[in-house]
């Protein structure tokens, strides 16, 4: 958890207790229960504190938010986080976090047996829907019905009427037994009716009866009675009601079908006067007709991850549709269209990212000077100013790893390494006029100095310049910054207005830094005035963005560093910017060294793996489809932190951290992975995970759009670049994969693979000293 999350929590939960709050909060439970929270990018505990408890979510299996608020009206009326109240005060006062006696184990054995006998006939969804007071308590609906509900005249399912059964069967009343249990075990065999006879059924004509039987399986009586309580009150059979008159009144037979929508959109059905639900089931669905309206674009603000967490297009992948979403409507256009429908206009996204300006004191220029002199010790021999977009110490991602490594290498060389990143993250550059002097967080040699307006750092740099042996500015990422201020910083810091700029992504070309048109498709950076830009949600912003980047390149001597040749080529062809120099500096190099004692050649089924985050833009859906198509004779492994749930895939948990940088390489090697699917949908500028796959002894399968992934596969001849999914499948089915795996295994037996990380900017900076 980062400092910002902690400080936000501290604001939300004044008076302490955060330690115990976080200790008892169960993030794994929370994410498992509410997977959509992961998409929000918010820390789980922060999500619960901000929204979760208000939405009735539970922070752990041991605490029911709904129950606690109902059981403790003082807490509810105070409007405070109930879980925080519970962990700090409530439980010490003897208040319960869960409803009592909710478990089977505590029940009388006879009752337990009755419960088990009726379980298959009980409709919990109906019960909770019909009796929201029970739902609110969090009680088990079946236990509730069997213990109390039947005595209160409640019904266990839409087809059994407790009060009718008791009224119709005085012997059951006399026996004092549970009427539903009686019906299930005896009554129905004896032909006793479960509910009042429907007066309607006899009136139906044979055609309607035939239609009724055709739709009955898909009709949701519980939903119908819940939605149209007047039908429930009338005591009429819900299905008969729907077939005779409900559909004509626009009633919906289930949550999955909209009667009004279907009739509006299928005028031929409306004209024919037939039951639309029946029409849909027997004909419409096979003709491609829609049962429900299209999803409307998301207008509801969701907490989003501010700023790119990786060198990949964070906005696209991190919020992309989860691979498995059984509840969500599936758009025929696929996950990309579903993602597109959730896109907001760029400035609305900015609005959702915008937070209150922190109240903490701003560092002055003098304070920054003093702090940096102190950090330097005797004399400030070398100061490196590193421009980033987020807190690289806590956020995962390729850029962040580079900055961490660069910071460590700088320290080894005696430099003071100062990273500045915006206090207010933005999905674009900061706008002059809105904020002419953005606040930045300053981190010196890994320790937070504080926050300051960019101008204070510029002034401090000007003060330090005469005494500093050398000052360099390295621009890693400028999202959230004002490039005009960065220009000023470089001008003040260096005598020749020189800086270094990394092409970790394509932000110098477009605010959509992975060149994703509308956040869903690689665009190739066409001209700003093109059709593609004009319909892209970044198009309008890109016009001013391009002008401002050009001004920065005009004002400064920008030495561009590219992690790969392919990126340098794309950038040169499309940016329109003129650098002082352009150097290719790969982050990692690989070396195949012959083993003096070759090890045995691996055998067993071909092992295909997916590394990293299982999101569609990296090809996870394609991986899933391969598993389904090729499952029989192959082994499938997923190496990464996020649990996946698909039969046939082995999950190998892997967490790459600063302390375990080789965890992925080791996992690939240990699992004897032959092939890794890396199906990037944008031209990756380097792709550490591709190199990790190769360093672990695997080959990589990718597509032509994947930038340095495809270039590396081609250059090293370790893998295959396949045109599309069809070509990928053919690669496996026509035997080429098997041939390649034989070669891989032979090579792996005879060679060890050494990998070496680069010195990031230091390699380029040092010759200047």
């Amino acid at each position: 958890m980062n400092d910002e999350t902690l400080s936000t929590l501290a604001e939300l939960l004044p008076g302490g207790g955060i330690d115990v709050y976080l200790r008892d909060f169960d993030p794994a439970f929370y994410l498992a229960q509410y997977p959509e929270v992961a998409e929000s990018g918010l820390d789980c505990a922060l999500h619960y504190a901000l929204y979760g408890w208000k939405e009735g979510r539970d922070p752990s299996p041991d605490f029911s938010t709904a129950f606690y608020l109902k059981d403790n009206p003082d807490v509810a009326s105070a409007g405070i986080d109930p879980f925080w109240h519970y962990v700090t005060d409530g439980r010490n006062e003897g208040r319960a976090g869960l409803p009592p006696a909710a478990d089977m184990a505590s029940l009388d054995p006879a009752l337990r047996a009755e419960i088990n006998e009726v379980r298959d006939h009980f409709d919990p969804a109906f019960y909770l829907g019909a009796y929201p007071d029970i739902a609110e308590t969090g009680a088990d609906p079946l236990i509730h019905y069997m213990m109390n509900g039947w005595k209160e005249g409640r019904d266990p399912s839409p087809v059994f009427s407790t009060s009718f059964y008791l009224k119709d069967n005085p012997d059951v009343v006399d026996a004092g037994v549970n009427p539903f249990w009686h019906y299930v075990t005896d009554g129905r065999k004896e032909g006793r009716p479960a509910a009042p006879p429907s007066p309607d059924l006899a009136m139906l004509d044979s055609a309607t009866l035939a239609e009724l039987s055709a739709v009955s399986e898909f009709f949701d009586p519980a939903h119908y009675l819940r939605t149209y309580p007047q039908v429930a009150e009338s005591g009429r059979d819900p299905l008969v009601h729907f077939m005779v008159e409900g559909w004509k009144s626009g009633h919906n037979p289930s949550p999955a079908f909209s009667t009004v929508f279907y009739l509006e959109n299928n005028p031929d059905v409306a004209r024919a006067g037939v039951n639309p639900f029946w029409h849909y089931l027997v004909a419409g669905q096979h003709e491609g007709r829609e049962p429900l309206p299209v999803e409307t674009p998301a207008k509801c603000p969701v907490a989003e991850t501010p700023g790119p967490a990786e060198t990949a297009p964070a906005e696209t992948p991190e919020q992309a549709e989860a691979p498995h979403d059984p509840t969500g409507p599936h758009h025929p256009g696929g996950y990309r269209v579903q993602h597109l429908l959730r896109q907001l206009p760029l400035e609305e996204t900015v609005g959702h990212w915008t937070r209150a300006t922190p109240k903490q004191a701003r560092l002055t220029a003098d304070e920054i000077v003093t702090a940096l002199r102190t950090a330097a010790g005797a004399r400030l021999a070398w100061l490196i100013l590193s421009v980033g977009h987020d807190d690289y110490r806590t956020n995962p991602g390729g850029i962040q790893v580079c900055i961490q490594r660069e910071e460590r290498l700088a320290a080894e060389r005696g430099a003071v390494y100062v990273n500045l990143h915006p206090v207010q993250p933005l999905p674009r550059l900061a706008h002059a006029g809105a904020d002419d002097d953005p606040l930045v967080t300053l981190v010196a040699n890994g320790a937070t100095l504080g926050i300051a307006p960019t101008s204070a750092l510029i002034a401090a740099t000007a003060t330090l310049r005469p005494e500093a042996g050398r000052i360099d500015v390295v621009i890693h990422q400028m999202l959230g910054h004002l490039p005009e201020r960065i220009t000023e910083l470089v001008t003040q810091a260096t005598p020749d207005a020189r800086c270094w700029l990394w092409l970790h992504d394509y932000l110098t070309i477009c605010p959509s830094y992975a060149l994703q048109r509308n956040n869903i498709a690689y665009c190739g950076a066409p001209p700003v005035g093109s059709n593609a830009c004009s319909i892209c949600l970044f198009g309008a912003e890109r016009r001013a963005h391009a002008t401002r980047m050009a001004a920065l390149f005009d004002a400064l001597d920008v030495h561009v560093l590219s992690p790969s040749q392919v990126t340098a080529d794309i950038w040169t062809a499309t940016s329109g910017l003129t650098p002082a120099s352009l150097t290719v500096c790969p982050h990692m190099t690989l070396d195949w060294v012959a083993r003096p004692d070759p090890r045995p050649v691996d055998d067993g089924p071909i092992t295909l793996a997916f590394l990293g985050t299982p999101v569609p833009f990296k090809g996870w859906l394609i991986f899933e489809r391969l598993v389904r198509r090729l499952g029989q004779n192959m082994r499938f492994v997923y190496c990464g932190a996020r649990p996946v749930d698909l039969a046939g895939i082995e999950h190998v948990p892997v967490h790459v951290t600063a302390d375990t940088p080789d965890a992925m390489i080791d996992a690939v090697a240990e699992q004897r992975i032959d092939l890794v699917l890396h199906w990037a949908t944008w031209p990756e500028t380097f792709s550490l995970s591709c190199y990790e796959a190769l360093a672990g002894g695997a080959h990589v399968l990718t597509n032509p759009v994947s930038g340095n992934v495809a270039a590396t596969v081609d250059r090293l001849d370790r893998g295959a670049v396949l045109a599309d999914e069809e070509a990928l499948l053919a690669f496996f089915e026509d035997g080429r994969a098997a041939e390649m795996v034989d070669r891989i295994r032979a090579r792996r037996a005879g060679h060890r693979i050494d990998h070496a990380l680069s010195d990031i900017s230091l390699a380029a900076l040092e010759p200047q000293t």
Binding site: E290, P332, G333, V337, L340, I520, G524, P526, S530, I535
Partner: protein, 358 residues
């Protein structure tokens, strides 16, 4: 040579018309763009050409004078905004500098220059775009019904677009169209007519120099998406079946349009991107002062909505037209009062036929 273009709409479609005008202006800064307006401004809103991408305004009142209220009373909003297209064409062709005239529906967005059609008008007098230019496969019954049979019902050419050369044949067509729309611009499929559109099935029979434009880049819409695929080339140009996308007809913005797009765009993500753009542009172009569903000619002067049955009665009865030349009026001696006395039209509820603007 000056090229004129117009669109016809009421204030409830101003947002869409603005998007059209802006997109057309971007491609053709030198064209004269007309707003043909069958409406009057709602209170609190002023239409000011100074702040619009339109150059000129032509209102129904300008074209029909004292007859406006009586003639428009026989039309619902769609009938009215299409019925004026004939007279507007004649009016603009009479402009001394007008060499070529284009019509675009307000719910169209222009993406690339219309120059090929401008050039066609050197050789042809009338350019029409069919709803479909490729037949559906025999096995796709739904597409045949949605697209081809719908075209047979509603007209084979889409009159969301039309280009006319200001020559003899072009003017002869405009006058004929004006005549027909004067009397017969109604949504009466039972009679075989559908507003201004179905009449144009007859154009290739009545007129020479008619160009049926089969380039897939024109008038792309849900009714032909089944046969059209959108891509972008490396320069970012939108292509339809490999040809530049000239204009897209964003018909039925809302759930119905979404359904047809989903049915026929399938996985062609670029089409959904166009729609995303269009929704956002229309949102941005909306004037909050215009009440939802506003149409000056949609209500009597007391604010009551005019039932479709009242319009039909009025337009079919010459005696009523003669007796009540100002049918929007209410009170003593009005058509409104007469209907209340002699018919049950005003007391009937649920008369929601006809188009209700969003």
């Amino acid at each position: 040579m000056t090229i004129h273009a117009f669109t016809s709409f009421s204030y409830s479609y101003l947002n869409r018309a603005r998007v059209l005008a802006r997109s057309l202006r971007a491609q053709h800064p030198d064209w004269v763009i007309w707003a043909v307006m069958t409406d009057k401004e709602p209170e609190g809103f002023a239409f000011d050409l100074e702040h619009e991408d339109f150059d000129r305004l032509l209102t129904a009142q300008d074209m029909f004078g004292d007859q406006t209220d009586g003639w428009l009373f026989g039309h619902d909003i769609v009938e009215a905004c299409t019925a004026v297209k004939g007279r507007a064409s004649v009016h603009i062709l009479d402009e001394p500098d007008c060499d070529k005239l284009f019509y675009f529906d307000p719910d169209i967005g222009v993406f690339n220059p219309m120059t090929p059609v401008v050039d066609l008008l050197d050789d042809f007098s009338i350019v029409l775009t069919p709803h479909q230019v490729n037949p559906e496969p025999q096995s796709d019954m739904v597409a045949i019904r949605d697209n081809e049979i719908a075209s047979l019902d509603y007209g084979i050419f889409n009159l969301g677009f039309l280009a006319i050369a200001n020559d003899d044949e072009g003017r002869r067509f405009a006058r004929w169209w004006e005549d027909r729309l004067q009397d017969w611009c109604h949504d009466r499929l039972d009679l075989g007519i559908f507003v201004d559109q179905k009449w144009c099935n007859l154009v290739p029979c009545f007129f020479d120099n008619v160009k049926v434009l089969r380039d897939p880049g024109y008038n792309v819409a849900s009714w032909n998406l089944s046969q059209r695929e959108m891509t972008f080339d490396a320069a970012g140009t939108a292509l339809i079946n490999g040809q530049p996308l000239r204009f897209y007809h964003f018909t039925k913005l809302g759930p119905v349009g979404d359904v047809m797009t989903r049915r026929y765009a399938g996985q062609n993500v670029e089409i959904y991107e166009l729609w995303r753009w269009y929704r956002e542009e229309v949102d941005r172009a909306s004037a909050p002062q215009i009440p939802r569903g506003w149409w000056h000619y949609g209500t009597f002067d007391n604010g009551d909505k005019i039932p479709k049955a009242a319009r039909e009665l009025y337009r079919d009865r010459r005696d009523l037209k003669a007796a009540f030349p100002h049918p929007l009026r209410t009170g003593r001696g009005s058509f409104h009062e007469w209907m209340g006395r002699e018919t049950e039209i005003l007391s009937a509820t649920g008369d929601e036929r006809g188009f209700v603007p969003a």
